[in-house]
Amino acid sequence: MLTLIKKRKYRSYLRKSVGEYIFDTLNYIFMLIILIVCVYPFWNVIMQSLTQPRDANKPSLYLWVTDPSLASYRRMLRDADFLRSFLVTFARIAAAWSIGIVMTTFLAYALSRRTLPFRKTITGIVVFTMFFNGGMIPTYILMRDLKLLNNFWVLVLPGLVSTYNMIIMRNYFMSLPVELEESAYIDGANDFTIMSRIYVPLSKPILATVSLWIIVAHWNSWFDNLIYTPMRRDLTGLQLYLNQVLVAGTINVGANPWEYDPMNPNLPVEATLKATIIVISTVPILVFYPFLQKYFVKGIIIGSLKG
């Protein structure tokens, strides 16, 4: 009996007032608006890319396409420049990731050991670069002096290690128990073995996070491509290609002029072609993103706390 009264009394605290109902409803609607605001621009472009060439030059809300056309997809998936730009981007990601992740792990592990001699000095040297750098022109001059201009490796070498990633990884290594190292050391293992056999296998989540950051950075990178490889059209990566088609307008993918041709009703036009390019180049991110996003979040939460 007593418990029943208690229960009822407690429930009264939890009962929602009218004001709370209104607030909750509005809040759910507000979040729905946020969802639409975040998704709709992408949806809009996807629908636009599927529009029939004859309808493409009429403005529309692009909520739905009743008779989709794949004409511009057929056109773009055969475009040599577009496909090559994907290859260049994949190549730079492969090179930068495979070398970069090893280098980041080496430095992060070394700096995570409190017994490392000169630890503070090395950390200082590394962290300083986060706050001060030579800037655009001196870096360009260095690439020129190293004879790296117009060379594939200029897209890879300057960005191999990100200090921010390195620090996230170092913090993670520091959060693992130091006894692992000590006992392995007593058993006669050397630092490299301890790192590669004990610490790295325990750090898979952070390795995934950092790998993803490296991949996203190189996937989105374009400015180096613009200023360091001006004479090599064959080294144009995806983002620079997108810049040239969508922003600068220096590459024209459509028939000239880019208008609907009634004699050729299946010839894609500017609006759908540009939308198609955006969709094809964003799909890889949209497909993998939901599965991988937790790793990104993990990184920012670890990285914001110092070890």
């Binding site: 809040n27 030059n57 529309s60 989105n220 400015f223 955006i278 939460i301």
Partner: protein, 336 residues
């Protein structure tokens, strides 16, 4: 008893070198540690070589700011900056900067645009996190959260492309609103009065979800017992938000604010470069885009561009050091 006596010397033998080790010279100790960790040092050293080449290497190029750089002579061979009479005038590029109308415009725009983004954009993720925290349905919460991060991973080039498609008056979504719903017939990408607004809104749109992560993490860290105690004392949701949630969030808010003030000299080059055009230079040309045009588009005055870049870097360096120093005083957040 006999056993114990036997133990004593061995224990001493183990302790003694440790005690003596402290008395060893610092140099000898360091040498010993270097020997023990030689592999680690090799690993770190290998990466440090990269740091010296690619991140410290460019710094000799900063000399260009004080020189009359010529490609033929290189950085070291170029002559020092002279005035017209042939006297040494090392800071000529810097004095020129502050007489240059286009530079002053870029300088002003950088502060105004970053300032607006900070002023308007800073509260957005906080409010978003607070409201999202009130959503009880876990799945819905997770969905909104995940989707709100998405734009952060799309490059500004693609986002600029999407914005151009939407704002296009001929075939875009905005063209539809103009034609059928009587919206003003404006091309926002070249329209001066609203261009900064476009920059601010698109920047908030891209970043608010991502910036909210840190606040959501802090919200998750608030002790649930506080809420239970408040409930028993008769506090409603509004009271709980004011008296528990906000104070719990306050340190993170302060730190984020200070850190963001530190980046106010920086400009979002990728965003502005991919959205702006000649008609809106007056309100949108920032130091980064100005430097780029000075060196690769309108002219190739590398000495002058280096001077501009050096000025910007030094300013932001000083600001970041100050703000980081303040945050590390107050909390465990911060970079070192």
């Amino acid at each position: 008893m006999a056993e114990k006596q036997n133990e004593m010397p061995t224990a001493q033998a183990e302790v003694l070198p440790l005690v003596l080790g402290k008395k060893q010279s610092r140099f000898k100790r360091t040498l010993k540690e270097c020997k023990r960790h030689s592999l680690l040092l090799v690993m770190a050293g290998f990466v440090l070589v990269w740091y010296f080449i690619f991140l410290y290497g460019p710094m000799y190029g900063l000399l260009m700011a004080f020189k009359d750089f010529s490609f033929r002579k290189g950085v070291f061979g170029s002559n020092w900056k002279m005035d017209k009479k042939g006297n040494l005038d090392l800071f000529a590029n810097f004095t020129r900067m502050f007489k240059d109308h286009a530079f002053l415009r870029a300088f002003r725009n950088t502060f105004v645009i970053s300032g607006l983004k900070l002023l308007i954009g800073f509260p957005v993720p906080i409010v978003f996190a607070l409201l999202l925290n009130e959503i009880r349905n876990r799945r819905y919460k997770k969905l909104v959260q995940t989707v709100s991060y998405l734009p952060y991973f799309i490059s500004w080039i693609v986002l600029s492309g999407i914005m151009r498609q939407i704002l296009n008056l001929e075939y875009g979504l905005y063209g539809y609103l103009v034609r059928y719903l009587g919206f003003p017939d404006i091309n926002f990408l070249t329209y001066r009065p609203t261009f900064r607004g476009l920059l601010v809104i698109s920047s908030i749109w891209r970043n608010f979800g991502w910036s909210s992560i840190i606040y959501l993490a802090a919200l998750g860290g608030i002790d649930g017992q506080l809420y239970e105690a408040a409930e028993i004392d008769g506090a409603g949701r509004w009271k709980k938000a004011i008296h528990i949630t906000l104070p719990g969030l306050a340190p993170v808010i302060v730190i984020q604010l200070i850190l963001q003030v530190g980046t106010i000299v920086g400009d979002d080059f990728n965003q502005i470069f991919n959205l702006y055009g000649v008609p809106v230079y007056e309100v949108a040309d920032v130091i980064g885009t100005y430097t780029y045009r000075q060196s690769f588009q309108d002219s190739t005055d590398f000495s002058y561009s280096t001077a501009v870049g050096l000025m910007q870097n030094t300013l932001s360096f000083v600001l970041i050091i100050i703000t980081n120093w303040i945050t590390s005083k107050f909390s465990e957040y911060g970079i070192w």
